[in-house]
Amino acid sequence: MRGNEKGTSVLRGKPLSFGGDLVFRYSVMVVATLTLALVWLLVIMMVIDASSSIDTFGLGFVTGDVWDPNRDVYGALPFIFGTLLTTGIALIIGVPLSIGIAVYLSELAPPYLRGPLSFVVELLAAVPSVIYGLWAMYALRPVIVGTVEPFLSDILGWTPLFAGDSVGLDKFTAGIILAIMIIPTIASVSKEAMMAVPDSQREAALSLGATRYETTRMAVLTYARSGIFGATILGLGRAVGETMAVAMTIGNANVISWSLLDPGQTMASLIANNWGEAQDLQLSALIEMGLVLFVVALVVNVFARLMVGRFMKAVPSTGGGL
């Protein structure tokens, strides 16, 4: 056989295909770089489009708390605030549920159930965001307005977080729907992290006389904790960028208000809700908002990827539309 003696490179000994290989290699490389370069190019273009807003408001954009198209004054603070609140609710509800699901799938489920159940949980991520919004509007909202929110008002209505009445189109509802949407992400990555814990760890705990629950806490959750943390950050990234379902449930109010029962707006939903009629400075401000969102999402996602590392492929990249 030619070219196979003692590590002779097959590539070097064959002038005919050397060219072909080179062409192939470089054209593939060009294509790969293309997307990257394109994205950065587009970012620059976005910056240009946002320039009038950037020039007008400078750094005050981020700290400004007024968004008034009538007076042409735009500040991002209400939406950073709204994003933080809704994301906070989503994480507070979503993370414990996700870890519970991950523990069940990884440690407790019988083998014949694990595959199908994991698939069904991931199916939650396949539902398009806009359908979540539609469902939230007509099926979830009546339940929240009818039962959950009166309950919260009664018990916690004296706190600034739950003051006032609501019709269900508020940060709380948006937070709930966000929680549902980030569960598949956090749960599947956490599950992978837990399944990667070697059995010898579980055996060590069991042989000391630990119950299944104690074994999971002592040997599995601690060992997998950086993966679980990374999963949470990934969920956070998803919640921050989620647009449609939030836009349809948050009530479209561009002001800062502490009560979760008041309508609000996130960075992403602002753009979706106001894109239609926006012109000139408002349009530029919306694009600048997009840039802020871009930076936030980039930072969060990069951080998450660094933490999650080799469980990357567990993330359902088939998330049904943001």
């Binding site: 449609m244 349809m248 088939t318």
Partner: protein, 296 residues
């Protein structure tokens, strides 16, 4: 109650709690599917699927143009996104064992889960604004392609990575040039992985709304010129979700049903395709082995 019993009770409670979490998470899924079917099915009729959206709430409207719009958007997006994605995946898997390759892979991972509204803005900046094409089908397809590329690249890379190295080495050792090895040997073996990745990415972009809001906008007509706005299923839902008109609301539910059917059938179909085909191998092996033992 001694400490043993307390620990045992905690164990049972914790196990029950974990199962409860699973059930709790599945409730929305079942509920959504049920709602969409119950409220969307009455809207479905041949007329509904073939009429165009007018938006006035008159009977006789339908989502026909939205269905075609979505299909066209996905088609054009795939035209750009699939080749670019697959080639990027090939690059990262075959030649990407260096700093540059790692960077590309990393960025693809990050982009895959990026807020799609930002992607919409990026596409807006280039196609709608700079190139002055305006709200159009092509701008929408471009945005969807950007979303598609990292997903396809990732799944392609993984599929290629799972092809055993011995196959590549065997081909190279026979004197097959590298580029041919990749194209013929590796891709054929990774075929199912690449196909499933592509189908899943299609399921994903079919349901995207935010980027289309900023690029393809909407149209109530049957024209499908690349440089004109175009209707789509997700946007039909968004436009009508809080409409006071029952007819328009029904349109939204009907569109939801069609969209969910497309997305779910792709996801479930992929899952069925991905099932390992063990039975064929086992039967062949058994026959082979009995043949052997008859000799000895």
């Amino acid at each position: 109650m001694n400490i043993y019993e307390r620990r045992r009770i905690k164990n049972t409670l914790a196990s029950g709690l974990a199962l409860a979490c699973v059930v709790l998470a599945l409730i929305p899924l079942v509920y959504i599917l049920a709602e969409v079917v119950i409220k969307g099915a009455p809207a479905l009729s041949w007329e509904f699927l073939t009429s165009r959206t007018v938006g006035t709430g008159e009977p006789g409207e339908g989502i026909g143009n939205a269905i075609v719009g979505t299909l066209l958007l996905v088609f054009y997006a795939g035209l750009i996104g699939l080749p670019v994605g697959i080639l990027t995946g090939i690059y990262v898997s075959e030649y990407g064992n260096n700093r540059f390759g790692t960077t590309v892979r990393f960025f693809n991972d990050v982009l895959a889960n990026f807020p799609s509204i930002v992607v919409g803005l990026l596409a807006y900046a280039l196609v709608v604004a700079y190139l002055d094409v305006g709200f159009s089908l092509i701008a929408g397809a471009f945005a969807l392609a950007i979303i598609m590329i990292p997903i396809v690249a990732n799944t392609t890379e993984e599929a290629l990575r799972m092809v055993p190295n011995s196959l590549r080495e065997g081909a190279l050792a026979l004197g097959v040039p590298r580029w041919r090895t990749v194209l013929k040997v590796m891709l054929t073996n990774a075929r199912s992985g690449i196909v499933t990745g592509s189908l899943l990415s299609i399921a994903r972009i079919a349901g995207e709304t935010a980027p289309l809001l900023l690029t393809a906008f909407y149209s109530s007509y049957w024209s499908f010129s690349p440089t004109e706005p175009v209707a789509s299923l997700p946007l039909t839902i968004f436009r009508n979700y809080n409409s006071p008109s029952d007819v328009l609301l029904e349109q939204a539910w009907g569109a939801s049903l069609v969209l969910i059917l497309i997305v779910l059938s792709l996801n479930i179909g992929v899952r069925i395709l991905m099932r390992p085909r063990k039975r064929k191998h086992k039967a062949v092996k058994r026959r082979w082995m009995t043949r052997l033992s008859r000799k000895t």
